[in-house]
Symmetry: D2
Subunit: 147 residues, 4 copies
């Protein structure tokens, strides 16, 4: 790829992420914010609110999953081809409490044809891993931006 | 087990679920309601709200996961021993839109010592499966009710 | 379904399994034998040989997975439509030693269009669960028997 | 870590791998060979034999899993603490035929206390990814080498 190609791919990734998140009422309602995006990559941040705690007083697994899933969705949609999640798994390795701020970093492990595999690590404010997520995506019809 | 044992186990399951959900701010904030509970089993319902939609206009995977995870949490905590999720996976098999109502049914597949495996099927209002979830639990110190 | 439909579906399942396993050099080389088959269901047996043990002296996880994967493959191919595995996961819940005999029972959890989800439980000679496997299949072009 | 620490950790990793594989009858019977090892890392090679093919004429998923699982086992046992697999998953992304040679590369993603997460990529002779595996380990009592 030339520098121009790189710059175009980066521009496209930013536009796709902007459109994805602008329309994503769920991520917005949960206070998620995009920190960084590039082709096949996304970093998303979410402060852990009181209404995200479970019966044990720690962050509900579903909230950690939601954050990771959003980072995954942004990362796999950075090439202007609409993509959806097929199958995801997550290991919860450390509890998280209210007031902490989580960051999910999604990277592209493999991509071919209509399929992709993305790894997402969720870390707390101290940089400690709290969850490891892996998502498998599949393209569907449609683009984010008419080109 | 005698009938009395069964009745006691059922009573304990109901009490544990009540305590779990009463303190679960996240599940409450997401409009989840317990439909049914018994030892190793839970059914939880959640209407899909506008603020649960993703950028594709369908229910965010994280919301379906959260519902399944709550049913799993209730089911694995029905025996008064505190349990947490270690590892979960989910296959999203059909998209869900706003206005639909989801139900997650968690059943106990296997349990031994400190570990358990639970299957959760999420269905829509028509009874069609929209997600298949499996969770692996591990007991931690503490009980829900002093006995 | 009528009784005749049932009988035909059962006959087809048996024929597909026979063809699948006849050509499956790997399953044969590992001493696997079909115990039972019906539409969407398969039970496969495998004695644990010395050459299936790992460095800890217990049955290699890959051998337990192979047995479960074969039961899964038979079960998802019982309707004469060729199917392959896309994604599988397995929890190893108890160690197994040489001389034991394992049985894997595969059941169909969900199937729609080209996709299917199958649960496989692996038990030892005493009937105790040693592994819980879940496989996701996808149809490919071709049939086992010309109809 | 000093250079001396690094050299000792490397020496320990090599010794642990040697002991693990020397006693691993299954990996030996399947023609697996260690290519490279270092703390938390292992590369293992396996030629795909005729007796590793399934009913579709491609490499049995169980054989790809077994190779990945062996690389994972070596990698998580490199620190002289005995480790076993708890839960593994694998995505099969491309079929493999007889005569090809597979290599599995296991890297440590996360490790803390008794738990670890390892990623294993399986590639064919052309370097194309054929499977992506993730394993979660747990330490058990015992060491490989008395120190």
């Amino acid at each position: 790829m030339t520098d121009t190609d790189d710059a175009q791919a980066q521009h496209l990734a930013e536009k796709c992420a902007e459109i994805m998140l602008r329309d994503d009422q769920c991520s917005m309602a949960h206070g998620m914010a995009l920190v960084e995006v590039s082709p096949g990559y996304a970093k998303v941040r979410m402060p852990v609110r009181e209404d995200m705690l479970n019966g044990h007083g720690s962050c509900h697994g579903g909230m950690m999953f939601s954050l990771a899933d959003t980072a995954f969705a942004v990362a796999c949609n950075t090439r202007n081809q609409k993509c959806v999640a097929q199958h995801c798994d997550v290991s919860f390795v450390s509890p998280v409490v209210a007031g902490d701020v989580l960051e999910a970093v999604a990277t592209e492990r493999w991509r071919q044809g209509r399929s992709g595999i993305y790894d997402v690590t969720v870390v707390n404010r101290s940089g400690d891993t709290v969850a490891e997520f892996r998502g498998r995506s599949r393209t569907v019809a449609g683009m984010h931006i008419e080109t």
